[in-house]
Structure formats: C-alpha cells, structure tokens
C-alpha cells in the first residue's frame, strides 16, 4: 500500500513552502491590523482572544487537516466526488433552515464553541472535484454542447444557492470554473464574448447612453464598410453585424439600466458605479424605493465609496518602501473597514510599500504558476481538471480581492486566499491545495 511507505514521497515541496509562506504573511498582516501599543504581543498570540492568535490556531488546525489529507488515498476523492458534491449542496440548502445570520448573509452553520462554518466555502472544493470527475468520465466528450451545459450546471448550482444567501462574492467565484473548462476545450468564443460583454457593460456605465449609441453605430458602419468585399462572398456577415449591433444597443439602452435599477440592490449598483467613478442615483432604484415606502430605509445618502477611498489611501500612502512594520497610520487608526479580512492587502501595501507588494505578488504568481505546472504534468484528466479548478479559484480570488483594494473592481466580499483572516476560508484553501498535492503525489496513477 502506498500510504504505508512514506507520506512525503512524491509530494511537491515548493508548493508546501509557498503555501506556508503565504499563511505566515497572513498571520503577520492580521497582527499588524490588530496590534495596539502597550499590549504584550507574545501572550496575546498565545491567548486566543485576538484575531491573529485565532488565525494561528486555525493554521495549526489546517496543518493537521493537511497531514490527514496527505495520509489518505487519492482514489477516495474520485470515488466520493459526486457524493461530496451532493452533500455540499445539501448543506447549503440546510443553511436556509438552520443557518445563522452573520453580517446580513444567512450562510453560516453554527458549529459550537463560537465557530461557524460556511458551507458555500466548502462547496468550492466539492464542485472542483465533481467537475473533475464529470470531465474525466470516459463517456464525456467536452466538445459537445450537451456536456458543456452539464459542466456549466455543475458550477452554477452552488452559485445560485450562494446568491440566494446574499453572498454575491462567493457566487462570482464559481464563474472561475470557466477557466478550467476553457483548458478542457470550451470554445474560446465564449470567453471572448464574455469579455466583450464586460467591456460593453463598463462602457454603458461610463459613457452617456446617446453618445455610446453613436459610437456603437459608427463601429458597425465602419465594420460593414471594411467588410463589404467579404460580404459579397458571405451573405450572412452583414446580417450578423447588424444583429450584434442591435443586441449591443439594446443591452446598453435597456438591459443594463433595467438590471441596475430593478434587479440590483441600491448599494450594489452604487458600488459598481463608484468603481468607474460615477454616482448612482438611488431614487432610480426600484428596490430601494420599495423599502423607502415600507419605511425600512432612510433616503439614500452619499455614494458608498468610503471603503475604496480609505483602502486606496492606505496602499497609496505606503509609497515606494512603505512606512515600516506596525507604523502604518491608516492601519493603526483602523480607517480601512474589514481590514483583517477582505482588505488585508492594504496593511501590507501601507507597511511595506511598492517593494513589499511586488514581492508578495511574485510569491503569489509563483504559487499559481506552480499549480499550472503541476496540472500539466498529470497523467489523469481528473487530476488535471482538479488542478486547473484550484488555480482558477485561487486566481479569481486573488485578482478580485486585490483589484477591489486598488479600486479596479467593486467591493464584493471575497477573501485573499491563505492571507485573509477566517477559519472557513483558510480551511477551504488548505483542503483544496492539499488534495491537489495528494493527487499530484500519485500522478503516475490514472484516476477516473
């Protein structure tokens, strides 16, 4: 039996190092955020009262879990992938009944002893496994639309449950599975269409509707003009261009205003608008109007960009070399909200400046590239798909979280993997990574 030989055999040590370094940086950052002068840092590290000491305990617990995962058999994961996925979904449904409300989202299950579990976090693992399992099936031909749709459904199901729990950020994470699916042969057009759509959405927020309509029309006319030769050969081309033009115009004219005014909550619209530097007028928002009528909510006030502003100030004031360990005034003065969780990157940026940030980025980049390298050396599709799912999830978290702190992305509650405070999140990413390491250690086996 393999596991009886030596658990360290075949384990990718650079990964473990990178993982440990990031966890250590996380604890240090949380320490910077929580530190107050005069208290004995050593005792408070041991004491378990402060967040950094809690995080330290979480890390210790995660080390145990990691060892345990390395001790298991890879086949376990393939065998139970679908079952765990079903279990995960069940847990998420269960939160609707036994869940606990924390910060406005009823997505936590109390575990006793003050700890709460967020099933949506764990569901990421299960979804990754289930997707890997599905794509590695013998009968799956991913070039067929039917299987693409099933794969999509696997990823979307927990996302929908997350949205129902008011965890928009977590739901967005599931879109990262697109990257893994792309690697497995999802047509590139979907990604291209997706990103073009994103550009259109942003453009319709920034540019005045009529101006944008003129720009879109101008692009369409130019395209037809340049494509008139090809059009002789291909009759459908002009029709396609016109249809795309109509869809774009309709989207920017009607769909986007409808979504912002009728689907989103006022604060969500405001956040997205504030990201592109605009004010959203909440009196257009149907939901906030309804609430106002019901008397639950006061009239909307100034745009909600305090978080981003303070976050940018913290990072920007770090300058080239930073203010030094524990010397950040923004951090010490607690100006950045949620700094130990979602905005942990700001404490790093303030204390260690541009140099510190770049070093941190390089460590993260190394981790992601390492996982891609591991993915590509797998013999079994299951392991490869799983590895790509891991890298997609981590990358998505990282990109959204950091972009949000530097003002590139609206504020959605997405933690920085391994660094942000939070037991559920740390445990999730530990399990994600160590299952990958377990699979990688057995890369000679073909798993289905």
């Amino acid at each position: 039996m393999m596991k009886n030989k030596n658990i360290s055999q075949g384990v990718d040590y650079p990964m473990i190092w990178l993982y440990s370094i990031l966890v250590a940086i996380g604890v240090l950052c949380i320490f910077m955020v929580e530190f107050s002068e005069g208290s004995n840092w050593f005792t408070s590290f041991i004491g378990g009262k402060t967040n950094y000491s809690k995080q330290l305990f979480f890390a210790g617990f995660c080390a145990l879990v990691a060892t345990f995962i390395l001790l298991t058999d890879s086949k376990l994961f393939t065998a139970f992938a679908n079952l765990m996925y079903a279990f995960g979904l069940l847990l998420m449904v269960a939160t609707f009944f036994i869940g606990k409300n924390i910060n406005g989202s009823k997505s936590w299950i109390p575990m006793g002893g003050g700890f709460n579990l967020q099933p949506a976090e764990l569901c990421k693992i299960f979804t990754a496994l289930a997707l890997a399992k599905f794509l590695s099936r013998q009968e799956t031909d991913f070039s067929k639309l039917k299987f693409q749709l099933i794969a999509g459904a696997i990823a979307i199901a927990p996302a929908i449950l997350s949205i129902l729990q008011h965890e928009l950020g977590l739901a967005l994470v599931y879109s990262s599975f697109l990257i893994a699916m792309y690697r497995e042969g999802l047509p590139a057009q979907i990604l291209i269409f997706g990103s073009s759509f994103g550009v259109l959405v942003i453009a319709s927020l920034i540019i005045e509707p009529n101006t944008l309509l003129i720009i879109l029309s101008a692009i369409a006319v130019l395209l037809i003009y340049f494509a008139r030769r090809q059009a002789r050969r291909n009759k459908g081309l002009i029709t396609t261009i016109v249809i795309i033009w109509m869809i774009s115009a309709g989207t920017q004219r009607f769909v986007i205003p409808y979504i912002f005014n009728n689907v989103f909550e006022c604060y969500q619209s405001t956040r997205i608008y504030s990201m592109v530097g605009k004010d959203y007028n909440c009196s257009d928002n149907v939901k906030s109007l309804k609430k106002q009528k019901a008397g639950n909510e006061k009239a909307p006030k100034k745009p909600d960009d305090y978080n981003v502003r303070q976050s940018k100030i913290a990072i920007g004031s770090g300058g080239f070399a930073g203010k030094g360990f524990l010397k950040g005034t923004q951090t010490r003065g607690k100006y950045v909200p949620a700094q130990h969780t979602d905005f942990i990157f700001t404490s790093l940026g303030e204390a260690f400046g541009f140099i510190g940030c770049v070093i941190f980025l390089i460590i993260y980049l190394a981790l992601l590239y390492r996982i891609i390298r591991i993915a590509e050396r797998q013999r079994s599709t299951f392991s490869r798909v799983y590895a790509y799912s891991v890298v997609s999830i981590l990358f998505f978290h990282f990109a959204v979280n950091v972009s949000m702190t530097i003002g590139f992305f609206p504020i959605v509650g997405i933690p920085l993997p391994m660094v942000s405070y939070g037991g559920s999140s740390l445990l999730t990413f530990t399990i994600l990574i160590f299952i990958l390491l377990r699979l990688d250690a057995d890369r000679q086996m073909v798993l289905r």
Binding site: E184, K312, G316, G333, F408
Partner: protein, 702 residues
C-alpha cells in the same frame, strides 16, 4: 483530449501574467506617482492640537494694563460620544430646552461632523462653570476646555483697543499665509487688529495619532514635530487711562470726539468718540447678546468719529490760513486790514465778521484773537491769487499741497484700522461744480479761508495740526504704540514711520510767535477767556462750524502750556453750538487733568456740569424712544404668551387632577388664576424693560 488543448495552459498562464502586470501598474500609479494619498493618510490620522499662547497685553503710558487676559471655559461636545448624557439636567443648567439642545446638536453635526469635538456653549460664566464641573460625570462626550478671554479693568478705550473674535471663512481666505484655523480668535478692530501679528504670539502645535473615530492613540512620532507656543508680546502705548476716562465721561450724552496728542512725540494721549461703549460688553458670552444691538444703534457706538468723522474745521482753521500765507511770504505778522463787519471785496460773496470795531484786525495777533473773518478771507485770497503760481487753479493746487503737508485731506497713517482722510477737494471737483476751470476764482471758494465750503477734517487731523503749531513747524505722525516688548527688526521697520520727524514749514520763530500769541490772546480776552487751567498758560482757538442739518457743531483746538507744549487737543461736539460752550470746557479739562494730574475744585464743578449736558439730537432721542417702545411691546407679548402657556399647562394638570378626583368645583378658579398670573407677567415685563433701559443707557454713557 488533453493533447489538443496543451497550448491553452500557456494561454491561461499569459492571462494570469497580464492580470498581475495590470495590478502592478496600478500599484506603481498609486504608490509611486500619486502623492495625494500620503497627504490624505496624514489628514486622516494626524490630529493637530493647537496650543494657544497668551495674547499680548496693552499698557498705558504709566504701565497700567488697559486689558488683561482671563481664562474662560468652553463647553465642548463630541456628538458621537454623547449618547448617555443626562440631557434634561444639562439643559436645566444651561437654561435651554431640549428642542434647543437637539437643534444645536444637529447644527454642530452638520458643521463639524459627528466625531469631531465642537463648541456647544462658548465662554461660560463663572457660575455656569462651577455648576457644570460638579455635574460633568453625567455628561459623557462633553468636556470643558480653557480659552483665554480679554477683560478691561478700566472699562475704557473700547474703540481704540478694538475687540477679538473668532475668525470667519472670509478672514481665513484673506489671511491664508498666516495659518489661522477655524476656531482661532483674531483682532477684528482697533489696536488688536493693527498689531495682531505682535499680540497673537506663536501658536504651538502638538501632533497626535488618532483612529477612525477620532480617538487619540498617542503622540505622533514621539512629538518630534511638535512646536512650543510663544506668548504674544506686550504693547506700551502713550494713552493715559485717567485722561481717557475723564474725556469719555465728559463726552457722554453728546455726539462728538476728542483727541489729545503729545506734540513732542506724536503719541496719542487720549482719543474718544462718543457715544462709545464699555469694552467688557463685547467679551466672553456677553458679546452674543450685545453685538446686534450695537450694530443696529443709530448713534453708531462702534464708529470711531475721531478718525472717521468729517467736520468742517470752521474758525479753528484760521491759524493754518495764516501759516500758509506766512510761509509763502505773502504777509508778515504785522500785516493788517481794516474790517468793518465783513469782507466785501468779492462783490457777490459777502463774508460777515463778528466784529466791526476799528483795529480788531490790525495785525495777525489781533486778527487771530478776534477771529476776524475778513482778515482770513483776505489772506486766503492772497494765497490763491499768488502771482508766482500763474492762475487761481495753480494757486489752489499749491494751497492744497500745503493742506496735505499739514496733514489735512490725507491719512495720517495712525495705527488704527480704517482711518478716513476727510476732504480737501481737488480742482477737478470745483471745475465740475462751477462748469470749467476758468469759471471759478478765489472769490468762488472764499469760505475755504474760514474753514467752511467743501473742506472737512477729522478730529485727529485737527489735533495733529495743533501739534505742528505747538512745535512751530514739525510733527511726528500720531500713533498709540510707543514701543513693543522685545522689539525686533521688523517691528522697528513698522515703528519707524512714527519716529520720523516731518518738518512742514520754514517760518521764522518770530512769525510763529505772532500766531501763538494770537491763540494765547484767545484764552486771555478772546472767545475762550472764561476757560482757565490753574497754573498753566495755554493757546487755543474756538470754532463753530455751520451744520446744514441742525444746530452748529462746537469745535475747540488748543495746546498747553504755551511756551513748552506738552499736549495738543482737538474736540468736536456735534450740535454743541459755540465752540467755547461745549467743546471748550472739555478740551481745557483734558489738558488740566493731563498737566496737573488732577482737577481743581472749579474744574470738578465744570466737569460735572459738562457731564450732565445732554446734546443728543432730538431725532436720535426719538429713535431710542421708539426702539424702547417696540421692545416693551415685544417683551409684554412674550410675557403674555409665556403666561398663557403656563396657564394652559396648569389647567391641563388641574383638569387631570379634577378628573381623577372627580370633583366639580373648579368653577371660576382657573379664571382667577389666569388674571393673577397675567398681571404678574406684565409687571415682570415692565421691570425687565426698565432694567434693560438702565443698562443700555449706562453702556452708552461709559
């Protein structure tokens, strides 16, 4: 299948790489090229606490402090921390109702945010302070904070000293480079304003780190950027506080002004503008109550007539008319004319003279002593028609040049803000008035020669003119501040203009002697012969300026002693009639007090008589009566409303009681009650009114 999509791993790597590069680019933008974030972080986190230095003191010539600093307390509140405050008892102590409390709170939050401390009640009285300190434990979020406040032990010289007040936004905008901040106090008028930079001292700044709720975390960088406050420097003035008090007393119930200058130095001994006010009514929390009333007062108690009032100098101008002709060599002191009761050389314009006996204008001395209008009309024409300057127009310009040299028609640059230059009209004015440069001559403006026509002068200018005559040809620009504590080079630059001797004429001592003798004769047998200063011979000139709006203005200029002048005085009393009646005694008493240090028995009697003289014009008296009536009506109405309200509350209470006790005998009881209390309130209103009236009249008088 994996073989086919091998390249896609590479593409994903590239995508990830691109995202990292974009993030790095934004970090470069934020951390290296955007300096504003550093500033924003400092503004967030560094709390600058200003340590106010003591303001400099202003002393009089005998080193008596005209004003002092005392400590007053502000009640400061941080709205976000004031949750558990016992609002009811706080309101009871401050004497406000809860609605007012809420209104003030909202106002402060609106102006200065919820988390910053703002002034809830400024400048508490001693009594309030004592009550509050006992109860502070009930008011979390409230603190008492020290502030230095001016007091005026002599209750005098309000308009000279000026007042300090909190700076407003326009002040901050105008004085950006001086580093004032909201909540600072600065001199707004008088010496407080002119010498603001010296009196203010240097504020110290302590820097603290604060958190997002404005709670202080500790000193910033261990205080290496902190600065220590430097106390404001003191000013030593030439004001004599006793003379100032006497002059204010003498001018009470009159509208007018008195200025006394030491001719040897140009130092102003006293400067009064009446009506004035007690400077203590504009300090501390009294200010809020009194400010509006002072500004609205029709007699303008805050208006300094000594440097802003413009009066035709009348006969007091005559010595100057003589000096101009003497300096140009047009006459000598022996020059005389025959006057038989008027000057008729101009045909159409006839100037009447008070005297018609022969020889009353036989020489300069006699003409001055008798204040002969014909003589000075003649002398004036000589100056204007002087052949040397070509024509009347040029002659007038030369004459105007003389006036300016003697300090008329221009600012004397006294060290008070907003001095007026009064008026010596330019030729263009007359050209316009008469319709061309050739359409007027010395006859057209003849009455300028006796200080009438379009010419005006401020009392300060008149007093300065006396200095020139007393000094026989020179003066130092009039000023209050003799020296500054720890004088520095830039202060010396500032003060040098007051230490520079201005020589005005080149007239021989002999001719000056004639002018001085003439003015001395005024006090011996002339218009001021009834005004004596025990043991002192002095020179004077009375003036009665025609006032188109009412009774003539009474003017008096003088200097004393005759041979070694130590004080030059100018007094103007509006609607005071002859110069020797109202202005004369005031001037002579000022000189007596200054030279003899005390008043003789006769002097005291005169002082009392003059003090009780009421020369306020009827129109202004009527204005006060009307205001008082309006006030009475308002007070009575308020009192009635209050009574009615109270009555209602009582009735409700009583009804409740009655309802619960289920008795039916309340009958006429409430009605009787109502009548009683209404009467009570009427009486109260009347009392309030009379008290108020007393206070106000007192304030005006001081």
């Amino acid at each position: 299948m994996s073989v086919f999509n091998q390249s896609r791993g590479r593409i994903i790597q590239i995508i990830i790489g691109v995202v990292f590069i974009v993030i790095t680019a934004q970090l470069i933008n934020l951390q290296i090229f955007s300096s504003q974030y550093k500033l924003a972080a400092e503004n967030n986190a560094i709390y600058r606490k200003i340590i106010y230095p003591d303001r400099g003191i202003i002393f009089d010539r005998k080193k008596r402090a005209l004003l002092e600093n005392t400590i007053s307390f502000d009640l400061i509140v941080t709205p976000s921390e004031s949750k558990g405050t016992d609002t009811a008892s706080l309101c009871a102590i401050l004497g406000i109702d809860t609605a007012e409390y809420k209104k003030r709170m909202l106002d402060l939050i609106f102006k200065n945010t919820r988390v910053r401390p703002s002034v809830f009640e400024p400048l508490l009285s001693a009594e309030l302070y004592a009550k509050l300190t006992e109860n502070m434990y009930k008011f979390p979020g409230f603190v008492l904070s020290e502030r230095s406040v001016r007091t005026y032990p002599f209750n005098t010289a309000a308009q000279l000293l000026g007042y300090i007040a909190e700076v407003d936004t326009s002040y901050l905008r105008k004085n950006k480079h001086l580093g004032y901040e909201m909540g600072d106090y600065a001199g707004m008028s008088g010496l407080e304003k002119t010498y603001e930079s010296i009196l203010m001292g240097q504020r110290g700044i302590k820097r603290f780190i604060r958190d997002n709720k404005s709670r202080i975390q500790g000193p910033y960088e261990n205080g290496i950027f902190d600065t220590i406050p430097v106390a404001g420097r003191n000013l030593f003035t030439s004001i004599d506080v006793e003379v100032q008090q006497l002059a204010e007393q003498l001018l009470q119930n009159k509208i007018g002004s008195a200025v006394a200058i030491n001719p040897r130095t140009g130092g102003i001994i006293t400067m009064v503008s009446s009506p004035t006010y007690n400077p203590n009514v504009l300090t501390g929390n009294a200010r809020r109550k009194n400010w509006g009333r002072m500004v609205m007062d029709t007699a303008k108690p805050m208006y300094n007539r000594a440097i802003k009032g413009q009066y035709p100098p009348g006969s007091t101008f005559k010595p100057l008319g003589a000096l101009v002709a003497l300096d140009q060599g047009l006459i000598t002191s022996d020059y005389g004319i025959g006057c038989s009761g008027g000057y008729g050389a101009c045909g159409g314009v006839y100037v009447r003279c008070e005297h018609s006996n022969a020889g009353h204008a036989a020489n300069l001395r006699l003409a001055l002593a008798n204040s002969c209008n014909s003589y000075f009309s003649d002398v004036f024409r000589k100056a204007l028609d002087n052949k040397k300057w070509g024509n009347t127009n040029q002659g007038y310009l030369k004459w105007k040049e003389y006036m300016n040299a003697f300090g008329l028609g221009r600012r004397l640059e006294v060290d008070l803000p907003s001095e007026d230059k009064a008026n010596i009209p330019d030729t263009s004015i007359y050209n316009k008035f008469f319709g061309g440069a050739r359409r007027w001559n010395s006859c057209s403006v003849l009455t300028l020669g006796i200080g009438q026509d379009k010419m005006t002068a401020t009392p300060l200018q008149m007093a300065n003119l006396m200095c020139i005559i007393a000094n026989r040809g020179y003066y130092f620009p009039p000023h209050f501040v003799d020296s500054i504590e720890n004088e520095q080079i830039e202060d010396t630059v500032l003060m040098n203009k007051y230490r520079k001797k201005h020589v005005v004429t080149n007239i021989s001592d002999n001719d000056y002697q004639a002018v001085n003798d003439g003015m001395h004769d005024v006090t011996v047998y002339g218009t001021a012969s009834h005004l004596k200063i025990p043991g002192v011979e002095y020179c004077a000139k009375t003036g009665t300026a025609q006032n188109p709006h009412g009774k003539n203005h009474s003017l008096f200029v003088a200097f004393a002693p005759k041979d070694n002048p130590k004080i030059a005085v100018a007094v103007v009393v509006e609607n005071g009639g002859y110069g020797s009646v109202a202005a004369g005694p005031i001037a002579s008493l000022i000189m007596e007090k200054y030279l003899n240090d005390t008043l003789s028995a006769a002097g005291k009697a005169t002082a009392e008589r003059v003090t009780n003289m009421n020369l306020i014009p009827q129109a202004i008296k009527n204005w006060y009566t009307r205001k008082d009536e309006e006030r009475a009506a308002r007070l009575a109405k308020l009192a009635l409303e209050e009574a009615a309200e109270k009555e209602e509350a009582e009735n409700v209470k009583e009804n409740n009681k009655n309802n619960t006790e289920a008795t039916l005998e309340q009958g006429s009881k409430p009605v009787g009650n109502k009548k009683d209390s209404t009467d009570k309130y009427k009486i109260k209103a009347a009392l309030l009114l009379s008290e108020d009236k007393k206070k106000r009249i007192g304030g005006r008088a001081q």
